[in-house]
């Protein structure tokens, strides 16, 4: 019954001369996200996006739209011929989508076609009456009704839409440039990635892998987490960095208290080189102030010392519990807590320094072949494109299919 979906843009409407660019990018993102539905006709207008369904399933399209950044609200729309009977029928079926017993409604008609047979107030009255008859006992309420059915009479037909569904908000992915997300596999990094995406960044996920100390499952988990983020953006590059040599070397030559600090500095150096090579503008991580030893201000200053690239820390002042809530909402939490060793937990000394001294760090690093190790890691990366429904679960689902 629903023939169209209409999405309103959020704050990008206020972005002045960049606005055209933003709308174009959002249209592209929506097209890409909905590419599986080949009958859709997607039109990005000045202030809203129209998607004609042409028989494609409304529910599925809606679910997908809800995760696309840059959309403020979404409304199901029914387009009908310009007769009052058709309009009444459509209003009733829109109500059937959402109406619960005891709820109120109102009809808000607007005429763009001023030559049409009925005036605005007549439209309100006639359709309102039809709805009242269809839902015995329903009440009209002018201020804050539960259901507000908008009826727009345009030249080419009547468009009816019901209450707006909340969109994901934020800015369209890709409008703020590209950044490298340090994706560990814990709870924080996917959430940090989510917030970065929400502000329009395009991400490449960087993951440090230290076989055999870290398992294939840990690597897969990082990929699966990246896939969860793809729902909020577009197919995403996943970069696997070989990290075993560096961790073994650090373990061998670095005093215990500095293992963590120097490991982090190595990671940051590698990520920054990858960023430069791949035209990124920033590095994003999931650090939250004071959470662990590497996330004290003293630690961060010493670790950050290896680069002047902006490091975005979307979670820096967020409480752990709030991070967990977001992780649950974006469906990464359950994956994140799977018990696999990651490169941050192996070799981690019992008492890492929370206030490392830069002079000590530089002195220790002076004895190591830092440049060579970074180079070998950067040369050894494996790059993969992560698409939607490519998680381990989805792949296995396909393999298991013939068993069911």
């Amino acid at each position: 019954m629903i023939t169209e979906v209409m999405a309103r843009y959020g704050e990008l409407s206020t972005k002045g001369k960049n606005r055209k660019l933003f709308i174009k990018q959002l249209g592209k993102n929506v097209e890409e996200a909905l590419s599986a539905y080949s009958n859709l006709i997607i039109k990005a207008h000045r202030d809203r996006l129209h998607i004609e369904l042409n028989g494609e399933p409304y529910e599925e399209v809606l679910e997908r739209l809800k995760t696309i950044f840059g959309i403020q609200t979404i409304s199901p729309v029914i387009k009908v011929e310009k007769t009052i009977e058709q309009a009444s029928k459509a209003a009733i079926s829109l109500m059937e989508e959402t109406h619960q017993p005891g709820q109120t409604f109102k009809i808000t008609a607007r005429r763009a076609d001023h030559d049409w047979d009925y005036e605005t107030n007549e439209v309100n009255r006639i359709i309102g009456q039809a709805v009242t008859e269809a839902f015995p006992g329903i009440k009209v309420k002018m201020k804050n009704p539960d259901n507000n059915i908008r009826v727009e009479i345009r030249l080419d037909g009547i468009y009816l839409s019901s209450n707006s569904i909340k969109g994901a908000g934020g800015l369209p992915s890709g409008t703020s440039g590209k950044g490298m997300l340090m994706m560990s596999g814990g709870i924080d990094s996917p959430v940090a990635g989510y917030y970065a995406l929400k502000r329009g960044l395009e991400l490449e996920a960087v993951h440090f892998h230290s076989p055999p100390y870290t398992s294939p499952q840990a690597l897969q988990k990082a990929k699966d987490l990246t896939e969860k983020l793809v729902r909020y953006s577009r197919p995403t590059t996943f970069i696997e960095v070989p990290f075993t040599e560096i961790q073994e070397t650090i373990k061998k030559y670095v005093p215990q208290g500095y293992v963590m600090t120097i490991t982090r500095r190595m990671m940051l150096r590698i990520t920054d080189q990858l960023r430069e090579k791949r035209n990124g503008l920033a590095i994003i991580n999931g650090e939250s102030l004071g959470q662990v030893a590497s996330q004290t201000l003293e630690s961060m200053a010493v670790i950050n010392e290896v680069t002047t690239t902006p490091i975005l820390r979307p979670l820096i002042t967020t409480d752990k519990n709030d991070i967990i809530t977001v992780a649950q909402n974006i469906d990464t939490f359950e994956l994140s807590v799977l018990p696999y060793e990651d490169c941050c937990t192996i070799f981690s000394p019992p008492k890492p320094r929370t206030k490392p001294k830069l002079a000590h760090v530089l002195e220790t690093e002076g004895k190591l072949d830092v440049e060579g190790m970074v180079q070998r890691a950067v040369d050894g990366i494996k790059v993969e494109r992560i698409q939607l429904n490519q998680t381990q679960e989805a792949k296995q689902k396909a393999i298991f299919e013939d068993l069911f």
Binding site: P216, Q217, Q396, L403, F404
Partner: protein, 379 residues
């Protein structure tokens, strides 16, 4: 060979057996193991649970796999009794339940629980009035089977649920072993049913696999303690080949359920019509019944004798339930319906599955006619 004893157990479907074999050979690792093979097995188990949940219209955390219907019923009953013993020790069930339910209740009764066994009328149905007067402050559990295994009578599950909405803390347990694929039982958030029990071998799945639905938020004390499998509710290494193939069986049986129901009902109606012409036959199945069961008897002829006579014609039927037929016990359901012991002893049960055809029913009627005429001459 005509197999009309499908309420006892069904033939395992070939694709189901195929799935069983494949899982046994390719995914034999323990789902609790940490290595990749274990992970894969765990993921397969997870897939099964999700699929079963979807097929039953519930969510996957609400599905627990067991070793069969008997374990499922025992767990729900004793699990409720143990979990809620500080709140109350009164339990309600009916007098026509399967032994897996009745015996669990009797055991609890011996241990000090107070049990009300609701009577049934001559059609085998309990009365809501009886239920209403039985419920009291101490009641913690009501168990009612959806479809009786001996006569195919259908209990008013929805009405009972409607009434029990006034008692939200009472667990409402439905033994749906005979109902699945035959009589729809609505589960999920809108349904008052808290627990429902299924058994895979009744729908062309493997023996030794049961499914229990436990509504979110409802607690049962586990019967099997150990490694904490099935969300700590049922320990024991998961029977993955059984679970996966049972899932396939459930999928297949539900896919064609409405068509199969129609087919079986047609066959049973044909049989009923034929039997109504024989003046020495009593039909014990009530007017409204599940589409796959008919219980009847030839006057003065023991059911056992009829079973063996039909066997000579290559036809397999049962005297009432398989569980009591070898012990020569007369049907407890029929006795509860007020049928005299001597008459109850004559009962046989025809129970169909989707594998049966109208041709088989016609052949059955032909053979039954011969058997009937044989006895008719003697008596």
């Amino acid at each position: 060979m005509i197999y009309f004893d499908n309420s006892a157990t069904t033939e395992m479907a070939l694709p189901v057996l195929d799935s069983y074999t494949k899982v046994s050979q390719q995914y034999y690792a323990n789902p609790s193991s940490l290595h990749e093979k274990g992970e894969t097995a765990a993921s397969l188990l997870d897939q099964s649970r999700k699929r079963v949940a979807k097929l039953l219209g519930v969510s996957s955390e609400e599905i627990v796999f067991t070793s069969g219907g008997t374990e499922g019923d025992n767990w729900v009953i004793k699990g409720t009794a143990f979990e809620k013993m500080t709140y109350g020790k009164h339990l309600i069930t009916t007098s026509i339940e399967h032994p897996a339910v009745l015996e669990a209740y009797r055991q609890l009764e011996r241990m000090g629980w107070d049990v009300t066994y609701l009577p049934v009328d001559e059609t085998g149905i309990i009365s809501l009035i009886d239920l209403k007067s039985a419920v009291k402050k101490e009641t913690v559990l009501v168990s009612v089977m959806a479809v009786n295994n001996e006569t195919g009578s259908i209990q008013p599950i929805e009405e009972i649920g409607e009434y029990l909405k006034a008692y939200p803390t009472v667990h409402f347990h439905v033994d749906a072993v005979q109902a699945i694929g035959k009589v729809p039982v609505k589960l999920g958030a809108d349904s008052r049913i808290d627990m429902a029990v299924f058994s895979a071998h009744k729908f062309h799945g493997p023996k030794g696999v049961g499914i229990v639905y436990v509504k979110k938020g409802k607690k049962l004390s586990p019967l099997l303690s150990g490694g904490g499998q099935e969300g700590n509710q049922r320990s024991g290494t998961e029977n993955l080949p059984g679970i996966v193939s049972a899932t396939k069986a459930l999928n297949d049986v539900l896919q064609s359920a409405s068509e199969d129901r129609r087919k079986m009902m047609e066959m049973i109606t044909t049989l009923k019509h034929y039997l109504s012409q024989l003046n020495k036959v009593n039909v014990y199945t009530p007017e409204t019944h599940a589409p796959h069961i008919l219980c009847f008897g030839i006057r003065n002829i023991k059911g056992e004798v009829v079973v063996h006579a039909l066997e000579k014609h290559g036809i397999t039927v049962s005297t009432t339930s398989a569980c009591s037929s070898k012990k020569q016990a007369e049907s407890s359901t029929l006795l509860a319906m007020g049928i005299a012991k001597k008459q109850a002893e004559t009962a046989i049960r025809v129970s169909l599955s989707r594998n049966n055809s109208m041709e088989e029913m016609e052949k059955f009627i032909e053979s039954f006619e011969v058997v009937y005429r044989g006895f008719y001459g003697i008596h």
